[in-house]
Amino acid sequence: MAVDASTSARGDLILKNLTKSYGEFNAVDDLSLVIPKGSFFALLGPSGCGKTTTLRMVAGLEEPTSGSIFVGETEITDMKPYRRPVNTVFQNYALFPHLTIYENIAFGLRRRGISEAEVKTAVDKVLNLIELPQLASRKPNQLSGGQQQRIAVARAIVNRPALLLLDEPLGALDLKLRRQMQIELKWIQTEIGITFVHVTHDQEEAMTMADTIAVMNKGKIEQMGTPEELYDSPKTSFVANFLGQSNLIPGEVSGNDGDNLIVDLFGTKVAVPKARSSALGKSVLVGIRPEKFRIAAEGKSTHGNVLTGGVVSDVSYIGVSTQYQVEMPSGKELMVFEQNDDDEEMLRKGAKVVLSWEPTFTFALDGSENVSAGSH
């Protein structure tokens, strides 16, 4: 069977108004996205947000209800999976149990009519890339989980697709192996330059590996950007709470001062950089990440934004850091992560404290956002 022209299409992945509905329910809701060629892209979100459905539509394993998918100039929306320049690494690896590792990896190449000599070269090369050449004649059920995972990746990339889709490929691995594989996958991607689209619910994984992340929720994209952009300047409370943790405090804009907004938080005035604010009106949610707070006993000197009157309501010592819950006079509970990097004594429950932080670390969301969206 000759190589299909469509399997050699190249370019950016473009999704236009992609929708998948099941009756009234939209699993993927009018999604539009451009993923640049050669990048490592992550689709991040909780289970049920539509990320896997989106991936499967790109692979051709689900039919979109409406919308279109392009690879460069070539529209692939209605193409069968075997015509697309796309390969998938499945969550459970889906290695063919009745074929050897060599035959598994050679499978896609052989279907495209490539000569046996070329097949052997390609398979050997990719087995060396993942450092498992000795497993060629084994069967999948003789391999460990980590090995199977790498073979699944090899089986996909050996075909040099325009796009590699990874559906939560590291979910079944234990923590240590997962960390190792994250580094390896990133390395493979930079080595061979294929566009990777990685679907995961693990925000740490996405931030470690991806150049660009799209956070999905309920079938839509909440925000897309680099890991730093998303972490430092979240635009919705979902993103703020899903990536890392956030303290979101309601307040009112009372003025501005150059590059900063001045916001009134229960009587105290704090500065918020305008560049990090996505507020639309006067009512805002001021966001501070727990690790940005400095916590000190009442009376100690402070600088930057300051909140007084807090009382420690809970202390957790975690070795690397200590986590404090601080109850403010308004009743609001704030979370503080303090690195244990000095000789300061740990504060006790009931201690009266003052919180401070650098204004540049503040972000602001529109007041209409739901404070608890995306928290876990």
């Binding site: 692979a59 394993l61 499945f90 003789q142």
Partner: protein, 265 residues
Amino acid sequence: MKQISKWFSKNLIRIYAFLAFTYLFIPVLYTFIFSFNDSRKTNLIWKGFTLDKWKNPCGAPDICNALGNSFVIGFTATAISTVLGTLIAFALGRYKFKGRSATNLLIFLPMATPEIVLGASLLTMFVNLGINTSMVTAIIAHVMFCISFVVVTVKARVASLDPRLEQAAMDLYANEWQTFRRVTLPLVAPGIAAAALLAFSLSFDDFIITNFTAGTVNTFPRFVYVSAGRGIPAQANVIGSAMFFLALFIVVAGQIVSSRRKVKI
């Protein structure tokens, strides 16, 4: 004494199982032993050990003709019923469609109907249509009662096939036919083989339905039944024992092959 009774109650069920297996094998052993009997006209009393019957299993009149017919009917019926049943099993095991429950019922009914009713009804139909019973009608009947068993056996295997394997194949440039040929079929094949083996055993061993639908065609079970009165010839014991060992060999070989496939680290 206490030790013994303790051992007893702990192993009671194992002792029982041993006794039960012995009970199961008594007639098999008897048949095997009497295949060596130096019998003349009847094979009812032990007359002495001989290998003659094993050397000449076709010695009894018509026995090998009957055996041959059993094989012809068996292989033909197995081939046809395995194909038809496998097709149905794929439909039931894969797709939602209207008429699923009616199909399930139609497959179930022949298994729930006594053989005599199956045989009698077929004979009645043939009589009504003026068709003479022969090997063809026997094969038709055998296919009929084997289909359901093939469906049940293959359907179990089809239903446990991970659809993601086929999706992976299509993702790797295999079209529908190639996916079926290179992934689906090899993985379902053990189930189909088991179904074929089951169909053949049911067909070979069938008496009642064959009696009604085969007319004058002799089969091995019919031969045995007819000669039961005066004591079946020892050659029948030989053939029966040989079939037993052959079947045992096939099953054990199948088990070994499939367990080799599952070697884990």
